[in-house]
Every structure is written in structure tokens, then in C-alpha cells.
Amino acid sequence: MSETVSAWQLIASGDATLFAIVRLSLAVSLSAVAIALVVGLPLGAMLALMRFPGRSAVVVVLNGFMGLPPVVVGLTVYLLLSRSGPLGELGLLFTPTAMVIAQALLVLPIIAALTRQTVEDLWLEYREELTAMGVGPAGQVATLLWDSRFSLVTALLAGFGRAAAEVGTVMIVGGNIDGFTRTMTTTIALETSKGNLPLAMGLGLILIFLILLINAAAWGVRLWSEQRAG
């Protein structure tokens, strides 16, 4: 139990090491989610509206990729960024940038697949009305994304939750370098194996707090949207 007390003391005292790790974790996961949004929203919306041969297969693969094992994504990005890999020249391996890339790839299918589902459902409902109002393709996408914004915030939070909690990709492509690429999850893994339980538990508590916060936010958004937009 003394570990729990020390863990709280670390948090309460604003321990510099601990909060540097939290900051890096948040920066990496938030950047990854931002990139996944920029790519995933239009991708999901286009997939919802377009009809082309093989579309069902794309949708199935995309849905399947929502559950990609982080270590496999990590390994793939590792191979791409390693010195002998196709992008080795960039020298990105074992940097926070590599971690952002890997997590963005992990989160992208979640954002794109949930966007596709949400927008497609709404499109079934709106289709005739928007066509009758003469709304063009770009306007259709904008309208559908805007009117599903509350569901999309939930998708965003789900993506962030997955990124913040995963350890596989950041461990492999970040290398868990002290003070540089060490995140909450990789630190917990390392410090636990070294027996430094207070730091591991302090970070664990913060991580759980963040996940709860995300879920509370998702819940709040739903309540609020039901009142506001019906």
C-alpha cells in the first residue's frame, strides 16, 4: 500500500518527470488523432456516398482495421522507417514523430469507419431532400459531416482513447528513450518490470483518470446533442 501513497505524492507534488511523460503522451496521441481526423473524415464521408466495384470489400477491410493489433502497426511503421526501409532516409525512427505516424495509422480506421457508418445512415435519410435542393457533392459532404458532428465527436474520443491507452506501437517505433520518447504506457511497462511501482502506479492513475474523462465527455456530448439538435 505504501506504493499507492507514494504514487499520490508524485502526482500531488507535480513531479517533473511524471508530468513530462504525461505531456509527451498527450501531445503524441492528440497529434495522431488530429491527423487521423483530417484524413479519416473525408475518407469516411466519400466512402459513404460513393458507389464503386469492390466497395463492400473496402468497407469490410476498414471495419476490420478498427481492431488492428498495435504491435503489428508498430512493426509495419518500424520497417518503413528503419534505416534500410523505404523511408529510412528521413531518420524518424525512435522520435516522437514516428510515434505520431504510427498512432495516426492505428486511429485512422476507427475514425474513417465510424464516419462512414454515421454519414451513410444520415445520407439515406437526407438524399432526396438534398438532391431536390440542388446541393452539389461538396455541399452534401459538408452538410452530412456537420449534421453528424456529435456522433463524430464520439468517434474522435474513441480514437483518442485507443491511442492514449496503447503501448505496442509507441514502444516499437519510439524505443522508450528516457526523456524523449517515453509515454505513460511504455513507462508503466518499464518501471513495473524494474520494480519502481510508485511512478508506474502514478501514471496508471492518471491514465485511468484520462480515460474516464474521455468517456464522461462522450456521454456529455451525447446528452447535449440530443437536446440541441434532436
Binding site: 432526396e128 431532400e129 431536390a132 440542388g134 449534421d147 453528424s148 437536446q227 439538435a229 434532436g230
Partner: protein, 240 residues
């Protein structure tokens, strides 16, 4: 980019519509010109909704051709449609109207005022900020009407807009429709209500099972129906 031409007359040239083995409309020839409201009359399943969707350009004929003012490719700019079950955007009532105005090219600076006018016209001013999907069925119908009127259409297509309304609400909606007709909008409206024909119609298009049985002035249709089917419908007998 609004074409100077008119969408009238709206003409059906030997139009059939099929879905699989079902014939929904069967070789319909019809010309709808400007003037008093045209009511599309017929029992359930006679093809009224399908006819209106063709009028709007939302469906293509399986054979034959629809044309608007002699053009087969007229975009939806000069027309508006009110579906039987209105589609409400997930926004406030006012935002629904403003959206329609924006699509119709109403300048941003004018939209707020025009929205207020339109909501007032359909009696929804007090509900402007209410989410549209939270309105009652009748209120949604009126909101959709305001959104359609905001497009200042040359042709306004209405699919049984009063079918689920009580007499007071029906009267209110009919007033708005007549008002639009008086200010020059061509009304084409599906109905299965003979009273409505008396109150609104200039001419009547009578459909049974996808076939056009009669297209006549309202008074002629009511007093001297030319086909046994129309005569039965006017008498209030069941027409199947």
C-alpha cells in the same frame, strides 16, 4: 446561374415507370401549364408520389420523357418539393429554413430576415430555435413548407401535405398554399381528398393504378366525370 427560361409547361410524353416487374406508371401523357393549382388525385398506390418524384426530377422515367419548359435537362433550381414525410435536418427550425435559402442562392445578409418572415408565414416563429426533429408532425410539415417556399420556386410540388393534419391545421396550410398560388407559384399537389379539390384545384389529374384516367378542369371533373372510375371516385365509392 439561374437560367432565364421557365420550367413550364411541365410535360410527360408517354412516361412509364417500372420497378422490376411492377408497373408504377403506365404510359402517362400529361401537360401541366401555369395557372391555378393542379391536383393529382387517386387512391392509395395509384402512383401520385411517383408522379411527383418524376416532376421534381428525382426519378427518371423507364420509358418516355419528362420535360420542363421544353428542356429535358432542367436542374431543380426552379422547383421545390414537399415530401409526404418531411426530412428535417438535424438543426434548429430556423437553421432548416436558412439552409434552404442558402442553397437557393439567397445572400447571407438577407437570410436571417427572410427566415423570420418565412417562419412567421407558417406560424412557427415561436419555435425558431427548437431542434426541427423535436417538432410535431404538423409543425414539421409547416417547417418543410417554409423551407420549400424559401426557394421561391416556379413549381411547388406537394405530396399530400395535409394527410395527417386536423381540420384547423389543414385550413392553415391550404391558406399558405393558396397564397403562394396567388403570387404566381404553380402548385402541383397530390391528394385523395375531394373536399380539397373543391377548395383548391384549377384542374385535376386522376390516376388509378398508374394510369391516367382523366385530366380536366376541377369543375368538370366533379360535375361531369368522363370515366366510370372517376365517376365512382367522385361519388365516394371505393375505386381499386
Amino acid at each position: 446561374m439561374r437560367a432565364a427560361a421557365s420550367d413550364l409547361p411541365l410535360a410527360f410524353d408517354d412516361v412509364s415507370l417500372t420497378a422490376g416487374a411492377t408497373t408504377i406508371l403506365d404510359r402517362v401523357n400529361l401537360t401541366i401549364g401555369p395557372g391555378a393549382p393542379t391536383l393529382i388525385l387517386g387512391p392509395n398506390g395509384s402512383g401520385k408520389t411517383s408522379l411527383l418524384r418524376l416532376c421534381m426530377g428525382l426519378a427518371e422515367p423507364s420509358t418516355g420523357a419528362v420535360s420542363w419548359g421544353g428542356r429535358a435537362d432542367a436542374g431543380p433550381e426552379r422547383r421545390a418539393i414537399l415530401f409526404q414525410k418531411p426530412v428535417m435536418l438535424r438543426r434548429s427550425a430556423a437553421a432548416n429554413v436558412a439552409y434552404g435559402l442558402a442553397q437557393a442562392g439567397c445572400p447571407r445578409g438577407l437570410r436571417t430576415r427572410r427566415t423570420e418572415e418565412l417562419l412567421d408565414r407558417v406560424g412557427l416563429s415561436a419555435l425558431a430555435s427548437r431542434p426541427a426533429r423535436r417538432l410535431s408532425g404538423g409543425e414539421q410539415q409547416r417547417l418543410a413548407l417554409a423551407r420549400a417556399l424559401g426557394r421561391q420556386p416556379e413549381i411547388l410540388l406537394l405530396d399530400e401535405p395535409t394527410a395527417s393534419l386536423d381540420p384547423a391545421a389543414t385550413r392553415f396550410v391550404e391558406e399558405i398554399i393558396l397564397d403562394a398560388a396567388r403570387s404566381g407559384t404553380k402548385i402541383v399537389m397530390a391528394s385523395h381528398d375531394l373536399g380539397q379539390v373543391r377548395r383548391l384545384a384549377g384542374d385535376v389529374v386522376f390516376l388509378v393504378r398508374g394510369r391516367l384516367f382523366e385530366h380536366a378542369a376541377a369543375s368538370d371533373f366533379l360535375d361531369r366525370p368522363a370515366t366510370p372510375q372517376a365517376a365512382a371516385f367522385v361519388r365516394g365509392d371505393l375505386v381499386l
